[in-house]
Symmetry: C2
Subunit: 299 residues, 2 copies
């Protein structure tokens, strides 16, 4: 089968962890083990987030006075390089003889997407309210609460088209494990055949939906640090939903809860493709696919 | 035909130019036009340098106090992302309908390569002697003269093996324009099947030779800002060498002159493969291939 797996930038750098290279390498080892378990039996395209990492690069660029900071699309491309390298390197050791390709991925967005007027995507480290407000005043960043903390937020437009989709199809058919759409892909606008980056960060789950649909993937796994979608989450009667449908998830309000973005992405993929989406914990990737863990969303 | 083209990091950021994103985009437009002219008639793999860019990322990382600077292999991966994106984006507009793939590329080196004890590869901006000596004292960088100026230098070990070579072959056969081996590739050591980055920057011309040999390329173009190899360079009798052999170039001392690295790379490719190498100006890429400009090195 052809499987698209989406893992969060937070799987590579957990909330509050220092953004050091070696910390990320340790986290990457966990993620790579989960992906490799699926990839031993299936063709896999891996999409990863980049929120913490793109924010760090922005901070580093701002800290160096010699050159104006590069725009977010360029920083996004840098994170595709960095994270694709770290993840791919780990996978290489786990999948002897398998070709593993990190493919830079540009994703077309609509330059008139309303998201540009309303930044929502958190990037970079977490701040106290005072720190965040100072950064906002000094640098013109938008900020927003993230749990009890604050983070910088940037626009997150809808992904419309994957410029490299034919190459992804080609690699998947050849059995190459493809790391693509990293950080949701590099957001670009295309006008009269000319491609130019835009200042945004695309949601990597939505980019994964688009990639999965366009390559005709059999399943999409949306992996996070929660083990499933739950009925009665936070109550003593909490019960894992093992299998459900987009209609049921939407009618019962799951699309707007804390798992909202994952649920919405899963519903979108199942509705558009008729195939299966899975939501659950990174470490359970293979078990979710087999129906032994997580939440499966089917037509 | 299958052509491997190597362009310098200096083609993307000329000596002394400010390292701004928009300056690089303008230079990228010139490079992309030259590459596109060749790619309209041939399968192309493009290898680019990253000296100025990897040095800038190192400076930015050092300027931000919150996180320890990432090692050179990770910064190299970031530059593969950034530059592959900028070049690929420009090529996309010039080659409608063509798939263009930037492929992260890891290159195995020997961890015992003598180059690790003797840093030679300049990265980052140019400095005065005083600036360079201060940086060396403060940060432990190695420095060396570069023309009249000074730059940071890092180890540059020999490339031994391209980990993604099968994927490059696959993409070339399918007619995808592949941007690979950026910055000479990310230097890694492989021990007992485990891949780990090493602190170095590989020479992109030598990486291009290895890629060209391994995919069985028909020609290798080594492009720079000098229009050919010259007899009597700098004298009134200077004469472009239109066609020559590795034996002639070596016996007449061209392998140790100012064009030495390019000449050595060309000789190595021709001797190992029996195919053609070309040396010349970026803008002349197609003309060099056709024998109308530059220096052709043949068996």
């Amino acid at each position: 089968m052809q499987i698209v797996i989406a893992i969060g930038g937070n799987a590579l750098l957990r909330r509050g962890q220092p953004m050091e290279a070696d910390v990320q390498l340790q986290n990457v080892a966990v993620a790579a083990a989960a992906v490799a378990e699926v990839a031993r039996a299936h063709a896999v395209a891996l999409v990863h987030g980049n929120g913490p990492q793109v924010g760090l690069l922005a901070l580093q660029a701002e800290a160096y006075a010699g050159v104006r900071p590069y725009p977010l699309d360029v920083l996004g491309a840098e994170t595709e390089g960095m994270l694709g390298y770290l993840i791919g390197q780990e996978l290489y050791g786990l999948l002897p003889g398998r070709q593993i390709a990190t493919l830079l991925t540009q994703v077309e967005v609509d330059p008139d997407d309303p998201a540009f007027a309303r930044p929502t995507k958190p990037i970079g480290p977490i701040y106290t309210r005072e720190q965040a407000e100072r950064l906002a005043a000094e640098r013109g960043h938008s900020i927003a609460p993230d749990g009890a903390a604050f983070r910088r937020v940037v626009p997150s437009p809808e992904p419309r088209r994957i410029l490299e989709i034919e190459t992804i199809r080609l690699l998947m058919r050849a059995g190459v494990l493809v790391i693509c759409g990293g950080g949701g892909g590099i957001p670009v606008a295309v006008r009269a055949g000319v491609v130019r980056g835009v200042e945004a960060v695309i949601d990597k789950d939505l980019a994964a939906v688009l990639i999965a649909r366009e390559i005709g993937a059999d399943a999409l796994l949306l992996l996070t640090d929660v083990d499933a979608v739950y009925e009665g989450w936070g109550t003593p009667a909490a019960r894992r939903i093992a299998e459900t449908t987009p209609a049921e998830l939407r009618s019962r309000g799951f699309a707007s809860g804390s798992m909202g973005p994952k649920v919405q992405a899963a519903c979108r993929f199942v509705e558009e493709s008729g195939r299966v989406a899975g939501i659950g914990r990174l470490e359970d990737a293979a078990a979710i696919l087999a129906g032994r863990a997580g939440t499966r969303v089917v037509r």
